[in-house]
């Protein structure tokens, strides 16, 4: 195709014009006149980020597998093009056919993080589609969304005609069949689609608030609209179709590699982790499926790297078989393997030894907390013993770089826990110097970093309070000062995330519908690309909060367990009783075993599959 929506002078003026021209290998080409449904599918961030998202590739393939549907991609234009488009009134367009988004039937968003919310408005705004669903008419596309953020959709509910709660593979065919039937009649379609399990139509629900601002009731407006929306889940993972034609970008994207999704869910039950709860139960692909898939994907993309994707790859029961196969195959084909989220032990060290340059690579420990007490509170099943024996073994094998990840501001956290971060790093350093000088690979380098704890919906910590940005900064300084007091402090580097971003993330994570006004205000004030530290504007957000009369403290306060939460109408399959029980266990410092050790009765067994039924007759 030799058509571009943007003129030559614009394309040569902006950074990386390849972001806007499509035409990549495996891009889906269809004749728009031959289909009934045209969908613009958007990841509301810049092209390189969006194209690295495996969910986007899965859904793109899934929609386009339908003969009656043509799904095209759209991303947030970067600042340079954004400014030109506004100035010259150029509408946002799709990559595939270079058509204005507004001319399509539907606009879908996949949302992986809260900080993309202003970019959703950017995309709607540049497309010429009303931001608020209530302002749209039959001539506007239907705007829908899904992804991790849909598990508490309330802050963005006003912008969406409907939201899909859960994994895309199960219900979208029904949704699109229904859309085809009612195309052009938005009202009927939305009412009907609300009957499909997993679909949430915000305009059909009414929130009511107490005087103190908390939620009093959240009810459907009509009797036929279900009061609870049930999360959708794939049970037989191998029944999921391959991404048979992954689009291969020309420019370097964040994940410039084949990503092999080996399983969904996690057995661990860390109490701060949302993914560990909302994707329960853990469900695996068979090693056979993955081997075939890996080969096919490498062949069809020509990628020179493959990486495993899961929440905790070491827990995948076929990990040995899969890695043995991949190591042999990739060394023949000169393909690199990258292995995130492997527990450091003899097995993983052996694997890493085979696939990486030990001198350059580093070990990663997500300890999350500085003391065993606090690790018990958050149910992080890694012990000091694990860290010490794993790192010692690695040091003997030639490694000398260690990355340590921590969280600050966790429930029950004290000075002792924060000081524990420096002390743990110190013991790792000392551990290194126990090996004889001639076996060492220079100095040990420990890189510790902290993020700030953000309570997320559907976790046992969904009731926990969050600190203010100033308190977080103070905590980080305390950690840093204590690190400087350690004997081996010269080997330890420490960094922390921007606390202002975390505080905002906290507001949206546990926000309600009244926040839509805040997001619109912030966007109007110039906020965009908030996930990018260079463009995050704490000052503009502060101003926007004030203009709307909204306080972040209200949303980040500790909540009572009898409070009605904005996301309570969603049924994720993990029960509220379980979460509450875990919240209590946390405060008692009681550890809950993982799913393979002993079922904790979280409720996810009702999905009738996955780890809950492993080896149990």
């Amino acid at each position: 195709m030799d058509k571009t929506f943007l003129s030559e002078d614009i394309l040569l003026k902006v950074d990386k014009p390849a972001r806007y021209i499509g035409n990549e290998i495996n891009m889906c080409i269809k004749d728009p006149a031959e289909v009934d449904i045209r969908i613009a599918f958007c990841f509301p961030d810049v092209y390189e980020i969006g194209m690295s998202n495996i969910g986007m590739q899965i859904i793109y393939g899934m929609f386009n597998a339908r003969e009656d549907t043509y799904c095209e991609r759209v991303f947030s234009p970067w600042f340079d093009l954004d400014a030109i488009m506004r100035e010259r009134h150029i509408p946002l367009f799709t990559l595939e056919t270079q058509t204005p988004v507004r001319e399509l039937d539907m606009l879908a968003f996949t949302m992986g993080y809260e900080m993309c919310y202003t970019n959703i408005l950017q995309v709607l705004d540049l497309s010429g589609i009303p931001m608020y669903a209530s302002d749209r008419t039959d001539s506007d596309p239907i705007v829908f969304g899904g992804g991790t953020c849909a598990y508490n959709p309330e802050p963005i509910a006003d912008f969406f005609d409907f939201l899909y709660i859960g994994e895309a593979e199960t219900r979208y065919d029904m949704v699109l069949d229904l859309f085809r039937k009612h195309k052009g009649d938005r009202k009927t379609f939305l009412r009907e689609v609300s009957h499909i399990e997993g679909i949430y139509v915000p305009s059909l629900y009414e929130p009511a608030y107490n005087e103190d601002g908390t939620l009093r009731a959240f009810t459907p407006k009509y009797e036929d609209v279900p009061a609870r929306v049930k999360r959708q889940t794939v049970i037989d993972m191998d029944s999921v179709r391959f991404i048979d034609r992954p689009v291969v970008p020309f420019i370097k994207v964040t994940q410039d590699r084949v990503v092999l999704e080996i399983m969904r869910g996690c057995i661990r039950g860390c109490r701060f982790c949302q993914a560990g709860m909302i994707y329960r139960p853990q469900r695996e692909h068979s090693a056979e499926y993955l081997k075939k898939y890996a080969v096919k994907m490498l062949e069809i993309t020509g990628a020179d790297e493959i990486s495993l994707s899961s929440l905790s790859s070491s827990d995948y029961s076929g990990i040995k078989e899969l890695l043995d196969f991949l190591i042999e195959y990739t060394s023949k084909k000169k393909v690199n393997i990258s292995l995130p989220s492997l527990r450091i032990d003899a097995f993983s060290l052996d694997v890493m030894n085979k696939v990486q340059d030990v001198k350059k690579s580093s070990l990663t420990f997500a300890a999350e907390a500085g003391t065993q007490r606090l690790r018990d509170v958050i149910n992080k099943g890694i012990t000091e013993e694990d860290i010490m024996s794993g790192s010692l073994e690695a040091f003997k094998g030639g490694w000398n770089k260690v990355k340590m990840y921590f969280m600050l501001g966790l429930p029950t956290e004290t000075d002792e826990d924060r000081n524990g971060i420096g002390e743990l790093c110190e013991r790792i350093a000392e551990n290194y110097y126990t090996i004889p000088r001639e076996e060492r690979n220079g100095k040990v380098q420990i890189q510790a970093s902290s993020s700030f704890f953000v309570p997320k919906p559907f976790t046992p910590f969904q009731w926990a309070g969050m600190k203010t940005a100033a308190e977080y900064t103070e905590m980080a300084h305390q950690v840093k000062d204590h690190i400087r007091e350690q004997l081996n402090q010269k080997c330890i580097r420490y960094a922390w995330h921007d606390p202002e971003v975390s505080v905002l993330e906290g507001v949206f994570a546990r926000g309600d519908r009244r926040l839509s006004e805040l997001i619109v205000t912030a966007y109007r004030n110039g906020c965009m690309y908030d996930a990018w530290s260079d463009s995050f504007r704490a000052d503009l957000w502060k101003k926007s909060f004030e203009e709307c009369g909204i306080s972040p403290d209200f949303y980040n306060r500790e909540r009572e367990t009898d409070e009605l939460l904005p996301w309570d109408f969603i049924d994720i399959g993990v029960s509220r009783e379980f979460l509450e029980r875990e919240w209590n266990n946390a405060r008692l410092g009681r550890v809950t075993p993982n799913c393979r050790q002993q079922c904790a009765g979280c409720g996810a067994r009702s999905f009738e599959g996955g780890v809950c039924f492993e080896d149990k007759n």
Binding site: D2, T4, A18, I25, F250, K252, A303, D357
Partner: protein, 203 residues
């Protein structure tokens, strides 16, 4: 075994820069299962080099790339396999076995032909014995005046615009856009038509 590949780059792909084209071809080599040679080490990379980067927005009918292969492969078969995996706008035109001691396309290149698509243009500003052009070195801030007249081997009007044969190599290098700037005319498109070595032979 050294191989020289000739390909064209037309249409939207002109917005893909040089480094991205290299990455594109690396993936194509894998997809087409070409037995290309790799460097040693933990992250082996393909032995591959291009004659000359093409500016963003410029098209070409004659791009050259050198690779090495580890086992012989039939010319027609190689061209077919590569073209089967190309995107719109890129076409492999030739696959040539080079002598083992041959120099790279990059070091052989001395001049190139360009077709500039533009409206009517007056070539008079170039009908002089000397055309001094002053260029400032961005890093050092020093400016240098060079006579570009000897770098223009040939220039004439054609129905589509202007055709030129100019110096492009390590010893003398002139950009077609710089020539157009001297003429003071805008243009729609620049297309590289051919690349030559010091003997005036195509690469």
């Amino acid at each position: 075994m050294k191989i020289r590949i000739k390909f064209s780059k037309r249409g939207n792909i002109r917005f893909i820069g040089h480094l991205d084209m290299m990455r594109y071809f690396q993936k194509c080599m894998r997809r087409a299962d070409i037995p290309i040679r790799y460097s040693d080490g933990f992250s082996p990379h393909q032995i591959m080099s291009f004659a000359a980067p093409l500016g963003l927005g410029t098209e070409s009918d004659a791009e050259y790339m050198d690779i090495e292969i580890t086992e012989d492969i039939d010319r027609a078969e190689a061209v077919k396999r590569l073209n089967d995996v190309m995107c719109d706008g890129v076409k492999v035109l030739d696959w040539k076995v080079m002598p083992d001691n041959s120099k790279t396309a990059m070091s052989q290149m001395e001049s190139a032909d360009y077709l500039v698509i533009c409206g009517d243009v007056e070539l008079a500003p170039l009908q002089k014995d000397e055309i001094p052009v002053t260029k400032e070195n961005k890093k050092t801030g020093e400016s240098k005046t060079v006579d570009i007249k000897p770098m223009i081997y040939e220039i004439h009007k054609v129905p589509e615009g202007v055709f030129m044969h100019i110096a492009q190599g390590s010893s003398a290098n002139l950009k077609p856009s710089a020539v157009m700037e001297l003429l003071g005319t805008g243009y729609d498109r620049i297309i590289r038509k051919e690349i030559y070595d010091s003997n005036g032979l195509t690469l």
